[in-house]
């Protein structure tokens, strides 16, 4: 179900690329919808208490991510994303059963392996993660821009490929840090390999899929042109995302040092309520059900009258 039904939507979006390519507004709406889906999917995923629901909302977030790629005109990249996500998420779904089975046999709640103490802060791991997420990609970008004279400012398409590759690699490295923040050269090396693997795979697969799906010269450039966001908005989105990633690393460092940022009282007091709202999927399905009942009542009334 996961590999078929979910990907059918993404496939359909790609199949209709010629239709979407007719209108900038449509592609901007697609981008907006994708962005909202990412935010909602990821937030809801963090508040679920069931492994399958967590995976389901993670899929929703990934689909939103892929929709955003389509909205930016990177249809070939979205297809690569679709295949890659289908493979890894199918593995997670298959493994979920094993985890559930193991959890049922675990006499302690929560399981004993979850109650271990947090390992001490590792400078090696933190700095490797920070460098691989920020310093190395920034150096490569500046080198490409200034030394090799690649006009990145004028090529939103190329920036999109690089940006999505970078965000994905950052996400993977952050997850790796969160799971294995121990002082180990193996973890540090894995972070380096993660960046290389994701970066190169994104660029290589992006190019390969582009030539395979859109061999006619100019087609892809046309999509990027139609989908191009206003310069300030595009730069702003890139900067905000970069700022958020930097902020996460700073927060991780501060937490490890025992320092806490001051969060206003009105925010902390509302967090439990927001948690409940997101855990209940913002009650959207309840609203949809009520709307369905209303429509059905209207239909029956209409049936009696006419």
């Amino acid at each position: 179900m996961h590999a078929g039904m979910v990907n059918a939507g993404g496939f359909l979006l790609n199949r209709l690329a010629p239709l979407y390519g007719l209108s900038s507004i449509s592609l901007h709406v697609v981008f907006l919808v994708g962005g909202l889906t990412v935010l909602l999917g990821a937030t809801m995923m963090l508040t679920q208490n069931d492994i399958k629901k967590t995976l389901g909302f993670s899929t929703m977030g990934q689909m939103g991510y892929m929709t955003m790629e389509c909205g930016l005109g990177a249809f070939a990249l979205a297809i690569f994303h679709l295949i890659a996500h289908g493979v890894f998420k199918a593995t997670l779904f298959l493994s979920a059963g094993q985890v559930i089975h193991a959890a049922r046999r675990e006499p302690k709640l929560p399981p004993s392996f979850m109650t271990e103490e947090t390992p001490p802060f590792s400078r090696l791991t933190w700095f490797t993660g920070f460098a691989m997420t920020l310093i190395v990609p920034l150096t490569i970008l500046l080198a490409a821009h200034d030394l090799l004279n690649v006009p990145l400012r004028d090529q939103q398409g190329a920036v999109i490929f690089l940006f999505f590759g970078w965000v994905t690699a950052s996400q993977a490295i952050l997850s790796l840090y969160r799971l294995n923040a121990v002082a180990s050269w193996k973890v540090a090396l894995t972070m380096v390999l993660t960046l290389l693997l994701i970066g190169f795979t994104y660029l290589w697969a992006g190019e390969l899929f582009t030539y395979f799906l859109y061999p006619k010269p100019g087609t892809v450039a046309q999509y990027f042109q139609v989908a191009a966001l206003p310069g300030i908005l595009f730069d702003g989105l890139v900067l905000v995302t970069t700022f958020l990633i930097v902020l996460v690393w700073i927060l991780l460092y501060a937490n490890a040092q025992g320092k806490h940022f001051l969060v206003p009282e009105w925010v902390t007091s509302r967090v439990p309520r927001w948690h409940v709202w997101f855990m209940n999927r913002l009650y959207i399905d309840v609203l949809y059900e009520k709307l369905g009942h209303q429509v059905l009542r209207l239909a029956h009334r209409l049936d009696k009258t006419l």
């Binding site: 059918a8 209709l16 007719l22 507004i25 239909a299 209409l302 049936d303 006419l306």
Partner: protein, 452 residues
């Protein structure tokens, strides 16, 4: 002798002769079924042999082929042991009158259409009880349709065109004169609902579509609004129907409302744009009627087993009838307009056509599509899932019953995958000429690219 060899007359005469013979063998249903099959096959043969002489504007041969195929498949899936074969005789008569109208025999389309409407009135009266208001309402509508066609023949323009469009709107259903169509699909016995479900819209399209170009702009605007009302009304009414046939009938009304809207929005154009719009409209019509025809065939299989049951009474068919459940799921996928099947391609063709004109039209299309197809998942869930009933004797489809449904699905897939070939969309002789660059909307280039 020359008249007798005229293929336009022969295609209409074969089923009528079959019906006349069928009356003589009403006590032996197998013979009547064999007669109906033979007549339909012969008709297909004649149509195949005389394609060139029958070819005409608006995809006449495609309409005729689909009409005959409807008769053939409806007969093929019918169990001869169930009930008297009067429905088969009536079907052959409708087929004869309909083919006469489609082929335009001897310039007497009104004769054929009048015969068809008259026969439909009699069939409805035969089914009706003394206090059945809906049935009598449909009879009155059929009578009014006849009157409109007569006015269209003798009245002055533009009254005549308006009257003819109104008369044909009974067949290609348009709110508020949809009653005859929905009643024919939901109340008539045997093979008639499925056959008329495919036949009536084809006839209505053939008669009404060319007339749209002659309507004044104000009437076309009013027609477009009425068409949108039809789409919304059909979608809402479908939700409230208790019978399978009723749901399918109103779903078809909703979809055909979209076709009316498309016709009213595009037929004021001239030249190649109007020609392409006709091709797209024809493709959409065939996709809708074929998908709904499949559902009506499936509904007739249910009726043959369980009699007249409401949708709620039928739940839980997935486990005891797996073959039926699989085919119904595929048919509903096709009826919703999902990919691989013809209706999806037809919607895409319309979307690409109207997208170039205005983004608002695209939005209208998407909303009406959503409305019209919204009920199908719930419909599927109600029929297939839940607990099977202990008091019903479930019997899955037999090979003979599966065949028509599989043929419909194959046709839907073929039409969905190869619309440019099947429906002559973008034929080089028609479209790749200099005229194309002059007055075709730019989006049509995308249509051609996409459909290939």
């Amino acid at each position: 002798m020359t008249i007798l060899m005229d293929p336009t007359l022969v295609v209409a005469a074969i089923p009528l002769a079959g019906a006349a013979l069928g009356v003589l063998f009403l006590r032996t249903p197998r013979v009547v079924q064999a007669l109906a099959l033979t007549a339909a096959l012969l008709d297909l043969l004649v149509l195949g042999l005389s394609l060139e002489s029958l070819r005409g504007p608006g995809g006449k041969t495609i309409l005729m082929g689909l009409f005959i195929l409807g008769g053939l498949l409806s007969t093929l899936g019918r169990d001869p042991q169930r009930g008297t074969p009067v429905d088969l005789v009536l079907m052959l008569s409708f087929l004869g009158f309909g083919l006469g109208f489609l082929s335009g025999t001897a310039g007497l389309p009104l004769f054929w259409m009048g015969g068809l409407l008259g026969l439909l009135m009699l069939t409805i009266l035969r089914e009706g009880g003394p206090r059945d208001a809906a049935l009598y309402g449909a009879v009155v509508l059929a009578g009014a349709g006849l009157l409109c066609l007569l006015t269209g023949l003798s009245g002055s323009e533009p009254l005549a065109t308006h009257a003819r469009v109104l008369g044909l709107a009974l067949l290609l259903p348009l709110f508020p004169v949809h009653g005859l169509f929905t009643l024919s699909l939901s109340r008539l016995p045997g093979v008639l609902p499925s056959f008329l479900g495919i036949g009536l819209p084809l006839l209505g399209f053939h008669g009404a579509w060319p007339l749209l170009a002659h309507l004044p702009a104000v009437s076309l605007k009013a027609l477009a609004l009425l068409a949108l009302a039809t789409a919304g009304f059909g979608a809402l009414k479908a939700l409230a129907q208790s019978s399978v046939e009723g749901r399918v009938a109103y779903a078809q009304v909703a979809y055909l409302g979209i076709l009316w809207w498309f016709g009213a929005s595009t037929q004021s154009a001239t030249g190649a744009t109007a020609a392409v719009a006709t091709q797209v409209g024809l493709f959409f019509l065939c996709a809708v009627t074929l998908a709904m025809y499949g559902l009506l065939l499936a509904a007739s299989q249910l009726q043959a087993r369980f009699g007249t049951c409401t949708v709620e009474q039928l739940g839980g068919l997935a486990r005891p009838m797996p073959r039926f459940a699989t085919l119904l799921t595929l048919l509903i996928t096709a009826a919703m307009g999902l990919p691989l099947f013809a209706l999806f391609s037809a919607f895409m063709a319309i979307a690409l056509f109207v997208a170039g004109a205005s983004p608002g039209s695209l939005l209208v299309l998407l909303v009406t599509w959503l409305l019209a197809s919204w009920q199908f998942p719930q419909f599927l869930q109600l029929i297939l899932f839940g607990k099977p009933r202990a008091d019903l004797l479930y019997q899955d489809l037999r090979h003979k019953e599966i065949l028509p449904l599989v043929i419909v699905l194959v046709l839907l897939v073929l039409a969905g995958l190869a619309p440019s070939t099947v429906f002559e969309l973008g034929r080089p002789t028609d479209l790749d000429s200099s005229i194309m660059t002059q007055d075709l909307p730019p989006a049509w280039h995308k249509v051609l690219m996409w459909t290939r």
